[in-house]
């Protein structure tokens, strides 16, 4: 399956050649979960504070599906 992944607020440093907030496409096995995705991106678990799938916050244990839009964030805040 194809995943559309964006990482923010400094997390791009773990992915060679990636830019902050840039849309990255990854090919992974259907049904792979968030843990496996983080592992393949070399992003430490504790850095992925908010994990969004298609605009909704999800558990990392959730299975992912073809075409999902993923956003990964360290702790962020403001207002």
């Amino acid at each position: 399956m194809q995943l559309e992944v964006r990482v923010f607020a400094g997390l791009h440093r773990y992915i060679q050649g990636a830019g902050s907030g840039q849309s990255l496409n990854f090919e992974l096995k259907e049904g792979t979960d968030g843990y496996a995705l983080l592992n393949s991106l070399n992003i430490p678990l504790q850095e992925a504070f908010v994990f969004m799938v298609n605009g909704r916050r999800e558990d990392l244990a959730q299975s992912l599906h073809n075409g999902d839009r993923i956003g990964i964030f360290p702790p962020v805040g403001g207002g």
Binding site: S20, M52, N54, G55, R57, P75, G77, G78, G79
Partner: protein, 573 residues
């Protein structure tokens, strides 16, 4: 500590002792109480019977970390209800260290403009006609040049002088930059209506306001500082990229209002977000992180050099949104320029950007046209008829041009989250006595940021309770003088609130518990709401505009469906 009473009708300045009933109030609790006690809710907000009240928070001017908030209160020209707008910068610390508990400005303007000079010895009203018409950047250069580069300056720009409903009150940071605004609700127009152009505050210290039990206080303050540093958002998130880091996460969540609340995502969000801002700012010799006042742990401000050599500090998320995605403007330099104009002319950025979006909706300028947006906003400072319309805010402009789609509650434009895909903040927009104000009960915490639990932003369930609890806690934090951003840690760390209360207990020799302190928050809300009711507000004013209930919002295709009965239960406490 003393209360200064400045009567602009008689040009008299008096000092009063702090009455016992105000001794344990500060910040928002004090400004709102004085407004409730002394201002007729039916008065004209820019007439002689309104009063403008300034008060440092209870902890301001001490070594409590991040405690430099200044509250400004009055009846709002924009909403017609009570208003408390608070700001960072150094004014609250300077006032508290000059021994000032509150400043009450009353009466009506005479022919001339004045400034008020305050220091530890007293206060003096000075004629200042030569300052009329000055933008705040030049004004601060002049005043800090004359009175000292360490003075705090509270001021208004031309918008306040013209008594426009979107005029804010400027305060300054240590560097003398004017971008620290008690922006919302048109309080700059109230200051202008009194003929007061600026307040200059000189005091020798930032941290030496009186504390009853010094050692106990110091221990609690040290512990509180640790709690802030340990929290992932306060200690790590905010100091790295500032508030505009929210642009991307709110965009990902599909809650970023784009093109006047039509779309929940903006294609160019990343180009105007905090990560890009930090990178460009540093490349140009600016600052990705900066404290708005000494003693802040979070340092969420920034300093952004513009291509023309001017520097705008800060560009906040809310401003970047209103002047950016809301108008489909995708150039951070244009956003910075618009923000600079707001600071200089003396406008609230949220309302100003909201209004530019209405101007685009009306076809006065094209969507996304930054150059025309700059030209239009510059009209405000020139005082042209069109500029005065824009300077009166979004609802006024919508009426002037026959636009029905305006995202405002109680006359005040919404900030940077759509109530259909972050429904908790929608409850706050609808019900806060302040009008549509995100800071009044910042439900984005549990809705999106994974702070203080989780309440699904797309469902109606749980939002009323979330907003109610946040509005109560916020009224307390706004009274303490602590920056609202400490709330991220208060919500997650069970020791947060007790430690905050311990600082209050040590400073004022009290034995409050957390419930007792939260009661102050409840009392503030009850009083503000009662003022609004006496000004003519009913439950019908606690609603979001109808298009939020009827038009689906992509990408989640949700509407705002928290029931009216549920909204009417927010203040059941």
């Amino acid at each position: 500590m003393r209360i200064i009473r400045l009567d602009m009708t008689n040009l008299s300045v008096k000092t009063e002792e702090v009455p016992e009933k105000y001794r344990l109030l500060g910040g928002r609790a004090l400004t709102s109480r004085i407004v409730v006690d002394e201002v007729d809710p039916t008065c004209n907000p820019i007439g002689p019977y309104n009063k403008l009240v300034f008060a440092p928070g209870l902890l301001s001017g001490t070594k409590a970390p991040s405690s430099g908030r200044l509250s400004v209160g009055a009846k709002s020209p924009l909403t017609g209800g009570i208003k408390e707008a608070n700001a960072g910068g150094i004014s609250a610390q300077r006032l508290a260290n000059a021994g000032v508990k509150a400043l009450v400005v009353e009466g009506a303007a005479r022919e001339k403009w004045y400034i008020l000079k305050i220091d530890g010895n007293g206060q003096q009203l000075i004629e200042a006609d030569e300052l009329a018409g000055k933008g705040t950047y030049e004004l601060l250069d002049i005043l800090r040049g004359k009175y000292g580069s360490k003075t705090a300056i509270i001021s208004i720009g031309p918008a306040g002088e013209m008594k426009l409903m979107n005029a804010g009150v400027s305060t300054c940071d240590q560097e003398g930059s004017t971008g620290r605004y008690a922006g919302r609700g048109g309080l700059g127009a109230v200051m202008g209506s009194k003929g007061l152009k600026a307040i200059v505050i000189d005091s020798p210290s930032y941290f030496d306001a009186p504390v009853a039990e010094g050692e106990r206080f110091q221990e609690a303050a040290r512990k509180f500082s640790g709690i802030l540093r340990e929290h992932p958002v306060c200690g790590q998130g905010l100091p790295s990229f500032g508030t505009n880091v929210l642009m991307n996460i709110v965009n990902e969540a599909g809650a970023l209002p784009t093109r006047n609340f039509r779309l929940g995502r903006f294609e160019h969000a990343n180009a105007v977000g905090g990560e890009t801002l930090a990178e460009v700012a540093v490349k140009r010799g600016g600052l990705a992180t900066h404290g708005c006042h000494p003693g802040c742990v979070m340092r969420c401000s920034n300093s952004y050099p513009l291509p023309d050599g001017k520097v705008v500090s800060p560009i906040e998320y809310e401003s970047a949104w209103s002047l950016g995605p809301h108008c489909e403007i995708k150039d951070l330099d244009v956003i910075g320029k618009l923000n600079y104009i707001c600071n200089d002319v003396g406008l609230d950025t949220i309302e100003a950007g909201g209004t530019l979006g209405i101007a685009m909706e009306a076809g006065i300028i094209p969507w996304g046209d930054g150059e025309r947006a700059v030209e239009l906003l510059e009209e405000v400072g020139k005082g042209t008829p069109l500029g005065r319309i824009i300077g009166n805010g979004a609802v006024f402009t919508a009426k002037a041009f026959g636009v029905s789609k305006v995202g405002a509650v109680k006359g005040q434009h919404m900030p940077a989250y759509d109530p259909r895909s972050a429904k908790g903040i929608g409850v706050t927009y609808a019900t806060s006595p302040m009008g549509a104000d995100h800071t009044a009960g910042y439900a984005i915490t549990a809705n999106i940021l994974k702070v203080g639990g989780f309440v699904d932003p797309l469902q109606a369930e749980g939002q009323v309770e979330l907003s109610r609890n946040l509005q109560i806690a916020t009224a307390l934090v706004d009274s303490s003088g602590l920056c609202l951003f400490v709330a991220f840690a208060l919500l997650d760390n069970p020791e947060g609130l007790p430690t905050m209360v311990e600082m209050l207990n040590a400073q004022y020799a009290l034995s409050l518990d957390v419930d007792g302190a939260l009661e102050m928050g409840k009392q503030v809300l009850r009083e503000e709401r009662a003022f609004n009711q006496n000004a003519g507000f009913t439950n019908a004013h606690d609603r979001v505009p109808e298009f939020f209930k009827n038009e689906k919002f992509p990408p989640h295709d949700t509407t705002f469906d928290v029931s009216d009965a549920d909204l009417d239960s927010v203040f059941n406490f």
